[in-house]
């Protein structure tokens, strides 16, 4: 069961939607005020700087807590798996406590505790089972998927969902490796990531899902990233060589294998960008641009055609030229894109202040 009051999460989602609609000019100031005033929740989400501060302090508490517990238990490396899992469960307990009693939601404290419980658990199970043994790898990744999925569901958290997808893909690869040769694993991973991405985008398009909207977006983005990485020459070589223990698949592969993975590495970013432009999907465009840079770096890591400085000058000139042409072109909207700024809610109507004042007044009466 989810740890938060679902109605409060719906109200938070509604608040964001109202603000967007008001900024875009679909709601009048009066409508916005009325709707916004109905979105008060009991969740505790402080200002971003307080969040950063509380997050840093929680890191201090957790790290020194680990050190103290390690000293008290006469820590030795033979029992590290048990120690890490025990501390992960302690963090989980603290997380439950802070969420259930203090209603923290993205306060910095809950984010850091969630991160630690996940990382410590995954590290614990990984070191608990024999590395490079098929059963050990399967068990470790399987337990990680279950724990991260549970956290993502219980705390409606996108980061946990991303870890769950990552562990899930690794789990499937290890599972398939029991029956299939290494060469077949990566196309399988591509299909799996594609299926996850399609499933999430369809779920998001089919209906409004206020509680798990961000989680689904997190899963879709992670699947998109893994889809590219499952065909990127460098990651394929590293995964096949260091995690599975075979020869680097692309470097040691035949011409067809090399051609396929190089084509994937260089062409998929362009496909992302084109798909993003066609669907007006900014996430696809951004991911495509980042992977374009990754593709160039990967290519340079294997084939040094130009010296670093010449590559920089050419790349920089190309970027300057492209951005300048696009900025000039999009001053007037073209094909659904513009260089104009996204509208923002005017500062003079600070409804959050009005709402807070109301709550404080009500509480003091």
């Amino acid at each position: 069961m989810i740890a938060y009051n679902k109605e409060w999460l719906r109200l938070l989602y509604a608040r964001g939607q109202y603000t967007d609609a008001y900024a875009e000019g679909y709601l009048s100031a009066e409508q916005y005020k009325t709707l916004y005033n109905g979105t008060g929740t009991g969740l505790y989400t402080p200002n971003i700087f307080i969040r950063i501060g509380m997050g840093l302090l929680t890191v201090v508490i957790t790290v020194f807590g680990i050190a103290l517990l390690g000293l008290l238990s006469g820590f030795d490396f033979d029992s590290i798996a048990g120690f890490l899992i025990f501390y992960a469960l302690l963090c989980y307990g603290a997380l439950e406590l802070i969420v259930n009693t203090k209603r923290h939601y993205n306060s910095g404290v809950d984010n850091v505790l969630l991160f630690f419980t996940m990382i410590l658990f995954v590290s614990g199970v990984r070191s608990g089972f024999n590395a490079h043994s098929a059963a050990g790898d399967l068990l470790a990744s399987g337990l990680s998927v279950m724990y991260c999925s549970y956290l993502a569901y219980r705390f409606a958290d996108a980061m946990a969902a991303a870890f769950a997808v990552l562990s899930g893909v690794v789990f499937v690869l290890f599972l398939l490796h029991l029956f299939l040769p290494t060469a077949a694993l990566f196309p399988a991973a591509m299909l799996l990531c594609w299926a996850i991405y399609t499933w999430c985008t369809r779920l998001l398009a089919a209906a409004s899902r206020p509680v798990y909207d961000f989680v689904l977006r997190g899963i879709a983005l992670t699947a998109l990233v893994l889809l590219y990485l499952s065909g990127n020459v460098y990651t394929v070589d590293v995964f096949s060589n260091e995690l599975i223990g075979d020869a680097p698949l692309v470097t040691a592969g035949n011409t067809l294998t090399r051609a396929f993975y190089w084509a994937w590495t260089l062409a998929v970013p362009a496909v992302y960008i084109l798909a993003g432009v066609r669907r007006k999907n900014i996430v696809l465009i951004r991911t495509g641009v980042i992977f374009l840079a990754v593709a160039v770096i990967t290519f340079r890591a294997y084939h040094s055609l130009l010296s670093a400085e010449v590559a920089m000058i050419l790349g920089g000139s190309l970027l300057l030229l492209t951005s300048t042409v696009l900025i000039r072109l999009l001053r007037q909207p073209q094909k659904g894109f513009t260089f104009a700024e996204t509208p923002k809610a005017p500062a003079e109507l600070n409804v959050e202040d009005l709402l807070t004042e109301k709550i404080i007044t009500r509480a003091t009466q």
Binding site: I61, L68, I285, T338
Partner: protein, 329 residues
């Protein structure tokens, strides 16, 4: 925007169907402003770095004079463009005339620094007056920051001020150049921080480029805290006195942050104060000797960090509640 969500509202009668229909039919263009500006920035960065390396690699064949002339040509072209295109200067905020203006000005100022540094290094333009080589660009940068109203150039000028004060002090002492690791540098840091805080106060008070005030205050507060903490670590016998100064300054920043409802400066004050107090605690524990000078001391320090950080979290929660009604940066 989630159209399905608004359709649900219209079904419940919370929102009129006309608004939802307008949302559905209104095909607004998607803004890619941020993405294009990031591409532009990386383009400038890659090109300037690549050119820098290329020149460095071929310095013997190109010749120093050609390089100096090339950099001077870039600087003068950029600045000439800015003077020609700039809006009328004012003591209030002045908008940039176009998207490229800020980048061209920044490029001109960066190459100006390269030009002065290069000419001084190769041809000793200012002789042995090394301080003058950073003072001249400092004055020019400050002038450009005010004339063209550019926060980035103002930050460059502030960094240059630090370099000027640091280099001047170091040359007097004929010691190595490093940050806050010697007495004169600590005091020059304190002086610079005081100057910046005074500038912040006056720019707001006299309404002269009041929007520059935050940059001055931000640099001033961090440099002041870093100088005071450096003093704490440098003067090993007087660290308690320096800790007291840190606490007093943290108190001052904290009170001001509460008055202006600034979460950022409140957090800065709390974290620097925490570093100072924790240092004092750790030193006191390990300097005491006896039972605390071993595992006992280690346990005490670990418990201290857990308890104090928990206490600070509770404190920040309460401060957030108090400030929330009138929050700002």
């Amino acid at each position: 925007m989630d159209i399905k969500f608004f359709e649900g509202l219209a079904d419940k009668g919370v929102l009129d169907t006309g608004t939802v229909e307008r949302m559905k039919s209104d095909a607004r263009p998607l803004s890619v402003r941020r993405e294009l500006l990031i591409l532009l920035y990386f383009g400038v960065l890659l090109l300037s770095t690549g050119l820098g390396i290329l020149i460095y690699e071929h310095i013997d064949t190109i010749g120093h004079l050609s390089i100096v002339l090339f950099v001077a040509a870039i600087t003068s072209t950029c600045l000439a463009y800015c003077f020609r295109k700039a809006n009328k200067p004012s003591f209030q905020k002045v908008e940039s005339p176009n998207v490229w203006f800020d980048y061209i000005l920044l490029l001109g100022c960066l190459t100006l620094l390269v030009f002065v540094g290069y000419v001084q290094f190769k041809y000793q333009l200012f002789g042995t007056q090394w301080g003058l080589a950073s003072f001249v660009p400092l004055v020019l940068l400050a002038f450009f920051a005010y004339y063209f109203d550019h926060l980035g150039v103002l930050s460059l000028a502030i960094v240059n001020l630090g370099a000027w004060m640091g280099i001047t002090v170091n040359l007097l002492e004929l010691s190595r150049i490093s940050v806050f690791d010697s007495e004169p540098l600590i005091y020059s840091g304190l002086l610079m921080a005081t100057l910046l805080l005074a500038l912040s106060y006056f720019s707001e008070r006299k309404d002269i480029k009041a929007h520059f005030s935050f940059s001055y205050r931000n640099f001033g507060i961090h440099i002041m805290f870093l100088s005071l903490l450096s003093g704490m670590f440098w003067y090993t016998h007087w660290y308690l006195a320096w800790a007291l100064f840190v606490s007093l300054f943290a108190g001052y920043v904290f009170v001001n942050a509460r008055r202006n409802a600034s979460f950022y400066f409140l957090l800065v004050a709390v974290l620097y104060f925490y570093i100072a107090i924790s240092t004092v605690f750790v030193r006191l524990v390990f300097d005491t000797g006896g039972i605390l000078n071993g595992r006992g001391g280690l346990y005490l320090v670990l418990l201290y960090f857990i308890a104090s950080a928990t206490g600070l979290v509770v404190f920040l929660v309460n401060m957030n509640k108090k400030l929330k009604a009138h929050d700002s940066l």
